[in-house]
């Protein structure tokens, strides 16, 4: 019996690009297939599925994962980090058998429990008790196992008195706790966890993190994906950094996190919304793009701490809107809110834009120089009418970097605590001197 839990060799996963450029295969109608067959005679498609032409393969394919190899020892807790779309989730999906690899292979020693999402298969009409059994079975637990741990799960979720109430009557907090409770009591040899901690309140997150470290201490193997760097730092010793579908680095967690934060992963500094990402209730508000522009006016993912920069939100109104406010939140990668600002905060502008006619708009906001500390920041956007309706919200619209050169205190090469780094006016007064 080896002490290996997972061995991954040259793993690759290729997706076909859909009609909207999204890395999924859209479902097609028979008509599409027929027209593809008819047009294929005149326009030969790539015949060799393993073709390696270009960086990302042929234009209608995208490699979400390519040439990834690594090993995980039994009992190891391995972190996986990388920005959105880097391939982390694809890796976990392949390892938990949700989807098959396109090339390479993976060897898994033992039962895999995947926690790609809590509450999978929860049905709102069923009671808490019924959902525990159903969800447990979906996650691969045996009935006797669920019987055995039932009380523990209910206690963990703190829903004792509501256990026979349909979960549709639960508060969202209760629902989440119950969902996590089932998942947390899975006892596979290998646990694969994806960003389950991104949900819920602080108290709940603390509880989940506690449960996760329990699991780790029991000597089980855990693969843990998160954007929450403090959770990664706390729970894992070693971390993989995935970048554009490739394994960029495997190192001890503090080094991997530094690398990830500092690498300035070249993102365009722009986020565009596709039609299918906009929920129906957003109407008549249609977000188009969110951009970060540096002092020179160029769209950039990295801005300097010592220079002002601009955040601009481009959107379309399909009908005129009364009392609309469009705003941004600035959030640290640890999830702390740094500021909230709306485009009609100013009373004059609030009056002037009381009604916005249909059309194309850009709301721009300048973030002053000497405000943010170096590091990565998240911009969330919100378009709402106060106390009437929230039309659109994206909690993680865009990520950008702040580069610290020239910021106060840079003569000491040490990370500074706190998300902001303002240039404060210090005064040093000497009160008496021994020289006198």
């Amino acid at each position: 019996m080896s002490d290996l839990a997972i061995r991954v060799e040259n793993l690759g996963k290729r997706y076909h690009l859909g009609a909207f450029g999204a890395p999924v295969i859209r479902y097609q109608t028979l008509r599409d297939t027929l027209s593809e067959i008819l047009s294929s005679s005149s326009k030969p498609r790539v015949s060799n599925p393993q073709s390696r032409s270009g960086e990302n393969g042929s234009p209608d394919h995208i490699w979400a994962l390519r040439n990834v190899s690594f090993e995980v020892k039994k009992g190891q807790v391995l972190g996986v980090i990388g920005r959105n779309g880097a391939g982390k989730s694809t890796l976990l999906k392949v390892l938990s058998r949700v989807t098959d690899p396109t090339e390479g292979q993976a060897e898994i020693h033992g039962r895999v429990g995947s926690l790609l999402e809590v509450g999978t298969g929860f049905h709102p009409e069923l009671t808490g008790r019924e959902n525990i059994y159903l969800n447990g079975a979906i996650l691969g637990m045996k009935r006797v196992e669920i019987d055995h741990r039932f009380d523990e799960m209910v206690a963990f979720a703190e829903v004792q008195q509501f256990i026979d109430t349909p979960v549709k009557r639960y508060s969202s907090g209760m629902y989440l706790r119950l969902a996590f409770a089932v998942a947390a009591h899975l006892e596979p040899e290998i646990l694969v966890v994806d960003e389950v901690l991104a949900v819920g309140d602080a108290e709940f997150q603390r509880k989940c993190l506690g449960k996760m470290s329990d699991v780790a201490q029991q000597g089980r193997t855990v693969l843990f994906v998160s954007h929450n760097m403090s959770a990664i730092l706390r729970l894992t010793e070693e971390t993989l950094v995935i970048e554009k579908g490739k394994l960029a680095l495997r190192a001890l967690t503090p080094r991997a996190v530094d690398y990830y934060m500092a690498a300035g992963f070249s993102q365009e500094g722009e986020r565009r919304w596709h039609a299918d990402e906009i929920p129906d209730q957003a109407y008549p508000f249609q977000p188009i793009a969110l951009r970060v522009r540096n002092l020179q006016g160029k769209v950039s993912e990295t801005v300097r701490s010592v220079e002002p920069f601009t955040v601009e939100f481009e959107y379309h109104l399909a009908a005129s809107m009364v009392g609309l406010r469009v705003g941004i939140y600035l959030i640290s990668t640890r999830g702390e809110y740094i500021l909230t600002s709306f485009d009609t905060d100013d009373p004059v502008r609030f009056e002037r834009f009381a009604t916005r006619l249909p059309g194309h708009y850009i709301s721009q906001c300048q973030i002053p120089a000497d405000l943010l500390n170096e590091g990565r920041f998240i911009i969330a956007v919100n378009a709402s009418c106060f106390r009437v309706k929230r039309y659109f919200q994206d909690e993680q619209a865009l990520v950008f970097n702040v580069e610290g050169a020239g910021a106060p205190g840079m003569q000491w090469p040490e990370p500074r605590l706190g998300p902001i780094r303002p240039r404060l006016g210090w005064k040093i007064t000497s009160i008496g001197s021994f020289e006198d």
Binding site: Q28, L30, E103, G104, E107, I108, G110, H123, E125
Partner: protein
Amino acid sequence: MAVSMPEKVPSGMEEVTILRPPKEWEALNLRDLWRYRELIYFMTWRDLKVRYKQTLLGASWAVLRPFLTMVVFSIFFGGLAKVPSDGIPYPIFSYTALLPWELFTHALNIASRSLVVNSHMITKVYFPRMILPFASILAGVVDFAIAFIVLLGMMVYYGITLTARVWTLPLFLLLAILTAMGVSLWLSALNVLYRDVGYVTPFLTQFWLFITPIAYPASMVPAKWRLLYALNPMTGVVEGFRWALLGTASNSQSGAGFQTLSLAGLQVGGLQALVIISGLVSLAVLISGLFYFRRMERLFADMI
């Protein structure tokens, strides 16, 4: 097709799963289906539990659907159009056929959508995907059992006594279930790729209703078309149900047409031939459906 993916290699105590790119055609991997048998039970139970929530009439819908259809058929086909019914009172003649038919169409409608409806599970957790259509069919079997009690009541009312043939009923029920499974595997897998299936299924069931002897006896079909007619597995199921419960085919001319049916040179009795043909077609659909489903299964999480 020789190597299944993922394969399980027992090594000492632990099990090793090898994940590698799938082949064109995969082995059926029934072992995983067995391992997850409890999930089939829980999914069936969920379907039943949820189906009639917030309905006024609840589980009585299981009876009402075939019963009301029977009433309509009895008025229009039995009463007005004077469709013959092999000497059996028309209401019970049609209701007996409607029971397996409801099971079948229900399976087609629910199971063909089962993968798409549960897409959130498919993209998040591994389990043998066949569980989803299978559970929808099993939930239909429970409905069938409820509606069957009404049939027993009707038999008492019309003074029809059960004969020893009733013991063959599970066989015909099994044939109905296998047929439903085969067709559902095809439709549910196709539905992931082509949402046209959602539009085709109601047509298909309506059309299928006419080529199955539900509102009329099989004996009405001209002899020269009977072989073609028997290719519909539901014909065997429906005629079998009537034979087992009502004793048709022996006391009427309904089976007469099949009596001398020549099947590949073999002279087989009427209903027997019908059931054999139906069974073979049903098995062919089921086996091809299983392999097609397995072939498409690997695309589900990416395509759905």
